[in-house]
């Protein structure tokens, strides 16, 4: 909540600032302001993003691995039921979009879906609650939603992009892949144009993956912050303040419910696009 002297823009900035840390002159040091974080350059880490995404990934893998260890073909119950439901859903999605046979694509899709879903889900934690824990620990900034950090989404998109490159070259050969980049759609005499078009086409894949997810989650987070501001502008038991405060409750409830859809949808979109891109990488002509 807003404290005395904290302006609206400072409140928003505070919530959009990652816990960026780096090792400077042998000391582990975390940035207090956005400018300081920027000054750290590339070799800094958003500790909050790394920590939360690591934890969530481990939660996913722990749960699924525990079920996988004790799984049986008998009548499933409880957690196994849920896991099987998710796995079958992913499997049918992969079967629907991916025409080739690969041992990687389905588990990849499951990892993407579950991980992104959990990371997005952190958006539903009320935005000021996390600082109730981190503030006493002396941590100034802590963003709970890793997918509102472009590093997380771009990181994943790079992973997918590398797989696309790997499979393109593996299936078509280096020559085939380069040929695909340079010799269509206009034949060998339109080589520069071809390279430009196909290059854009290729680069667009990770960029669209990363920015779509980041943009959606960032915008969602921003709306949560703005809704939270309504109650934060409390001054007294005046009519306006009370109205704003009750609006915050209703709006944040509504947005949270709507966000359940977005959380799932964005995870699903990232997964489906990954499958489709890998499918394209496996095909000769696209």
């Amino acid at each position: 909540m807003s404290t005395e002297g904290l302006t609206t823009s400072a409140y928003i900035k505070h919530h959009l600032q990652n816990l960026t840390c780096s090792i400077q002159e042998g000391h582990f040091h975390c940035a207090h302001t956005a400018e300081e974080a920027k000054a750290m350059g590339f070799w800094a880490f958003n500790v909050d993003t790394l920590l939360v995404s690591l934890l969530l990934g481990l939660v996913f893998l722990f749960l699924f691995n525990r079920v996988a260890k004790h799984i049986s073909a008998d009548v499933p119950s409880g957690m196994q039921n849920f896991v099987e439901w998710v796995v079958e859903f992913i499997d049918s999605s992969v079967r629907g979009s991916f025409t080739g046979r690969s041992a990687l694509v389905a588990p990849l899709a499951l990892s993407i879906f579950a991980w992104i879903f959990l990371m997005n889900l952190m958006d539903l934690v009320p935005i000021d609650y996390i600082s109730l824990i981190t503030q006493p620990m002396g941590i100034g900034h802590f963003k709970l939603v890793p997918t509102t950090d472009p590093n997380a989404t771009i990181g994943m998109a790079i992973g997918v992009f590398l797989l696309v490159l790997f499979y393109s070259i593996k299936v078509k050969g280096l020559g085939g892949f380069v040929g695909e980049l340079t010799l269509q759609p206009f034949g060998k005499f339109g080589l520069p144009v071809n390279l430009f078009l196909e290059g854009v086409n290729l680069i667009a894949k990770p960029v669209s993956l990363a920015l779509r997810l980041f943009g959606n989650m960032y915008a969602g987070e921003m709306i949560f912050i703005l809704i939270a501001l309504m109650g934060a502008s409390w001054v007294s038991f005046s009519f306006a303040s009370t109205l704003l405060f009750s609006s915050q409750i209703i709006l944040s409830l509504g947005w949270a419910i709507f966000h359940i859809l977005i959380v799932t949808l964005q995870a699903f979109i990232f997964m489906t696009l990954t499958i489709v891109y890998l499918d394209m990488a496996h095909q000769e002509h696209h």
Partner: protein, 156 residues
């Protein structure tokens, strides 16, 4: 919102998660699901087989029942026939027996008649002798007139 080395960390983490999922999560779950699919398919096939078997058994039992009924009616017909045969036989035997009894009775009656006639004849001859004796007033020598008497007896 700076792009920094978090990117590299996230990519590595992503790769590790996918690797782990591919190694330890997906295959056992998929194997179990496939096993269950197979089991369900087998179960359904078995159920189908059972249904077919049941239909066959029902058909077979109906056939058996029909055969049994046929046999039963055959046996009943045979029994009926045999019964009437026995009755016929009994009737025939009874007829023979009754004929025999009648014949025996007739013979006996004839004998009795014959014996009575003999007796009567003897008595008549005695009466005739007595009557003649009285008429003649003297005793007739039975021996002398025996021939005559026997002739008379024969005539009667």
């Amino acid at each position: 919102m700076n792009i920094n080395a978090t990117l590299i960390g996230q990519t590595i983490m992503f790769a590790l998660f996918v690797w782990f999922c591919m190694k330890f999560v997906w295959p056992p779950i998929m194997a179990a699901l496939d096993a269950r699919n197979k089991r369900i398919a087998d179960g359904l096939a078995a159920a189908e087989r059972g249904k077919n078997d049941l239909a066959l058994a029902a058909k077979r039992s109906a056939e058996l029942l029909r055969e049994a009924k046929e046999k039963v009616s055959e046996i009943i017909a045979l029994g009926d026939k045999r019964a009437s045969e026995i009755v016929e036989e009994a009737k025939a035997q009874a007829k023979i027996e009754s004929d025999r009894i009648i014949t025996a009775a007739k013979a006996e009656v004839e004998q009795e008649v014959f014996r009575a006639k003999e007796q009567l004849r003897t008595q008549v001859s005695a009466i005739a002798l007595a009557g003649a004796g009285k008429i003649l007033g003297r005793e007739i020598d039975a021996k002398a007139h025996n021939d005559l008497l026997d002739k008379l007896v024969a005539e009667i």
